[in-house]
């Protein structure tokens, strides 16, 4: 791991050894105090500080993406998209900007995604363009672009289909459609239009995925009316749809291993839902938050932590399996717009206060 262990590493280890010592002390023979009468549990550790903060985006940060540095420079990179249309490429080693990409005519960059083959970058902007950038060997040129037909807030999603082929889902025309393209050929596979009587409103967030058992691509879409729908892309029909929120769904993430997903909306609650073998969505429960508004939700790649970006400037961290709240990170002074997890567990958050905070929480053991 290239990163030096941060302060939160050490404090976490110290905390564990301490609690072990406490447990041992309690279990010594002859000490038969019932557990309820033992000294009250120690106060929880104070909330952690960010491992570091990236400043210099010069406008609110709306998109973040970690790029594993395996093929590239050997160090992981963080890509950020700003309100004013710039994409910054940050080195996590030097914590400086390596390059700035300006391709969205000063309009907000809402989504960034590196593509499976090589160092290619996909960026979505509110100038109705989706650009493909070639970043290999220090280049930063637009090699291709797709025109969007919807100016909404919906971010796209990609799914690798083969060594050089991938599928792209993005908001389509008509306000309620989702368009599926095959890339890099840009051929339109299909357009997923909800049934006329459903009226779910605009799609707000998308996630393409594939079940382990079958190669058929599936799409989870959160809609303006607060519902989450599962599309079978090849059959072009809705498998299941469930109302999770009263307000538009602002972000969702899905854990294909546990077949469980989570979504956040403009209201004060997170919804946890699951998918059964018959591809039916079920709401498991809601989790109340202190303040309304969730801009983004992300599950850590190891499926153990969930992070949410709050309009109340705070990042909340939950234990994904139990949904136990673990931390409330109050660092930013404006709404947090986006979150990203690196494969090694690093968490980045971009906020309206123009800063990107990077956190190392509960590192993997």
């Amino acid at each position: 791991m290239p990163l030096a262990p941060g302060t939160s590493h050490t404090s976490d280890f110290a905390g564990r050894s301490w609690s072990e010592a406490w447990t041992e002390g309690r279990d010594t023979p002859g000490d038969c105090i019932p557990p309820s009468m033992v000294a009250p549990p120690s106060p929880p550790p104070p909330p952690p500080d960010p491992q570091f903060v990236l400043r210099g985006a010069r406008s609110a940060v709306h998109a973040l993406h970690f790029c594993g540095g395996a093929q590239g420079q050997g160090h992981p990179l963080l890509l950020s998209g700003s309100l004013h249309g710039l994409v910054h490429i940050w080195s996590l080693q030097t914590r400086r900007v390596l390059a700035t990409l300006d391709g969205h005519a000063g309009k907000c960059v809402t989504w960034l995604q590196t593509l499976p083959p090589g160092p290619q970058l996909l960026s979505q902007g509110r100038d109705l363009r989706m650009h493909v950038w070639d970043l290999a060997e220090g280049r930063n040129a637009i090699v291709d672009s797709v025109c969007l037909e919807s100016v909404g807030f919906c971010r796209g999603s990609v799914l690798a289909c083969g060594p050089q082929r991938w599928m792209l889902a993005m908001p389509g025309k008509g306000g309620d459609e989702v368009q599926i393209l095959e890339m890099p050929s840009k051929t339109s596979v299909c357009s997923l239009k909800p049934e006329a009587e459903a009226r779910p409103g605009m799609p707000m967030c998308l996630q393409l995925w594939q079940a382990d058992s079958s190669p058929l691509p599936l799409l989870l879409a959160g809609y303006e009316d607060g519902s989450v729908a599962l599309w079978d892309v090849s059959a072009r029909k809705v498998c299941s749809r469930v109302a999770c929120h009263e307000e538009p769904v602002m972000g969702l993430d899905f854990d294909s291993q546990k077949a469980r997903g989570v979504s956040g909306s403009a209201e004060k609650a997170l919804a946890v839902w699951s998918l059964d073998e018959q591809r039916a969505l079920q709401v498991h429960g809601t989790h109340q938050l202190t303040n309304p508004g969730v801009a983004d939700v992300r599950i850590r790649p190891d499926h153990r932590l969930l992070a949410t970006a709050g309009w109340d400037h705070r990042i909340r961290v939950f234990h994904w399996r139990t949904m136990k709240p673990l931390a409330v990170l109050a660092f930013h002074s404006a709404a947090v717009h986006c979150l990203a997890f690196a494969t090694d567990g690093l968490l980045a958050a971009g906020s309206g206060d123009q800063r990107i905070s990077v956190w190392s929480l509960y590192p993997r053991m």
Binding site: P48, K258, Q288, D312, P325
Partner: protein, 817 residues
Amino acid sequence: MVDLDFSRAFTVNSRMDPVLSTVRLTVREAVHTLSSSEDGGCIFSTLGSLKRYLGETENPALPEEQEEFARIHFSTFLRCLVGKLSPDWLELLPDGQLEELWASFFLEGPADQAFLVLMEAIEGAASKVVGLPDHLGNRLQRENLAGFFPQNYFPLLGEELLQALHVVVESLRASVDFEVSGWCVLMALLPLLPVAGGLDCSVSFLSQVLGKACVHGRQKELLGVLVPRLTALTQGSCLWQRVCWRLVERVPDRAMEAVLTGLVEAASGPEVLSWLLGNLVMKSKKAQFVMTQKLLFLQYRYTTPVLRSLLGYLAMDSQRRPLLIQALKELLETWGSSSAIRRAPLAQQHYISKAILVCLAHLGEAELQDCRDELLASLMAGVQSHLDSSLPAVRRLGMIVAEVASAQIHPEGPPLRFQYEEDELTRELLALATPQPAADSPSEAGPPVAPVTAETTNEEMVSSGGPQAQPEGSDSELDSDDEFVPYDMSGDTELRSSKAPVYVRDCVEALTTSENWERWEATLRALEGLIFRSPAATQEVSVELAKVLLHLEEKTGVAGFEALRQRALVAVTVTDPVRVAEYLTTQFYALNYSLRQRMDILDVLTLAAQELSRPGRRQKPPQRGPPGPGPQPGSPATPAWQAVVEERIRSKTRRVSKGSAGQGPAADPNKFNSVAGYFFFPLIQLFDRPLVTFDLLGDDQLVLGRLVHTLGALMYLSVNTMVAVPMGKALLEFVWALRFHGDIYVRQGLLSAVSSVLLSVPAERLLADLPDELLEAQSWLADVAQKDPDEDCRTLAIKALLLLEKLRDKLLPPPPP
């Protein structure tokens, strides 16, 4: 009495008559012979000579003589005979000749007198039986036998009583043919118990013994044996029950109370009491008085089970139920009387409340309907007077009884609901209100099941659904996940968009303008910290700020508004004590404030004085500023590494001198010293001047109580200050003026004020400057310690007396031996 007068009159007449005086001489001689002679023949002849006055011998006396003997001398002579009765005396002559002669006087003479004398004799015997342990103890002193110790003797006596009752019951049973005549005959016969079956089975001697023993205060020992056995015996047998009823009925009136209280305490429930007593309360006025008045209104030491069995006994029979309703009426009347609330001890009020609740649990709606208006009237008056009380415990009693009683008496009306804190006492009272059988089912009494939150359902469902959805066996991962220790999330509060002012001066404006509620709330929250951070700026606007805060009203639902306002006011007072205290104390006696505001003023003054007099307050402000990034220097939470380092240094360092490890707070001038007078004197000066809206010595005794407590606290806090002596003098005078105040809360305040004077004023100065006041206070304290109805008052008075005692010992050391 009348008889005596008559006889005296006849005696006077008879002096003129020589014939009649020979009778007197003969009787006197005979009495003399009887009391002195040991010779059987002599006694026999003397008795024989007197026999002729009874007229049934061969040569009877003259009719006038017979008449005189019967009227005047017979009872005297019989008493003498009874006094001589002993085994030795009877054996002076063989073959029971004396006994026969002895008995013949009782059988052949006038029956009424014989009966009276015999009754006297029985009573005397009962006293002997009961007094035996005392007599033996007095006579034998230390050589007394263990069997005659009261604690051993009375259980034995109980056993014997039981034996005697067994004999009575057996003889009754033998005399009645159960098989043939059945119960009806038995019922008809039982009232004639003393002569049933031709056998003399009167229980009145047993009743006498029982009564005497109980009057002697031996209920526990005697009834402890008797009642459990009788309970078992009466449970199945009607005959035993009747015998028991008779036994208690025949107890003399003067012993009735002792017997009944003992029985009520010893009986294990209303049924037992019913078996033992029957309808005694309907037959005996005395018993009725004891059961419905004495045990309910005049005494209050009995436990709840005793009260339950007493009232349950009244409720068990339809004949007795009117008594229960009557008792409830009277109980409610007493409960509601404002003078009783003021004067009766709290324990008694509690007892009466319990009795009311038990009564209500027994009475049905129909029975309550008849006297509903009456009950409601006393209930409403009672609630009013209870809520007026300044003692929280009394107010709470009022609330609980009102809730339960109104629901029972007026079930169709809207339910009455008060807010009070639940504790042991309230739960006990509320449990009484439910009828006994209902209370047995634990499901109803149990606490309501806590509503399942979304989180827990979520967690359960996830964990149950987890394993099946997981493709890989990842148990180790599950275990390790539990080690995620949550961070502190206390800072996760609701986000407020509005910013609080940064300067104290802006706060005045922010609090008075009412357009921006969020700013208003943020200001209130930030104010205390701002004041402590900028004392100089605060002093410029201190009075203005205090005025705004004092008049601040909660218009939006701000959580913890009262506490925020109070803390800010205290902060202002601490920062600029002289001016703010002057302002607040004048406002206390100003027009147009609510009682709440006046009490707020008192609280703020006390808290500010406490803060000012706290040593070392400069070093560690108790309030922390808003949490910022990074630890603040000197903040109470020292970093973990620092503790570790200090611990390591301590373990490695050898100290030559061993002092106390923890250093005391650094020495610091007492800030309260220079300003105590500003807090104290303006408050104490004006208390006796009524305003239009505010009369401390009249209706507003709650505020007066709070004022007295505040003065006491200020006195206590000004220990070691220069002004303590004049303050103590003024306070003792104030206490003297109010010492007979009717309100308990006020009296408690006065007593603790005296204690704080004794603690705060230096002992030498007390004796030199205030000797008269001290003497007055002492006599008052001694009086309160003995006579005050309130237990807390008595305790406080005793504490103050002890302080006084200690003070005297310190000043006047006992002379060396």
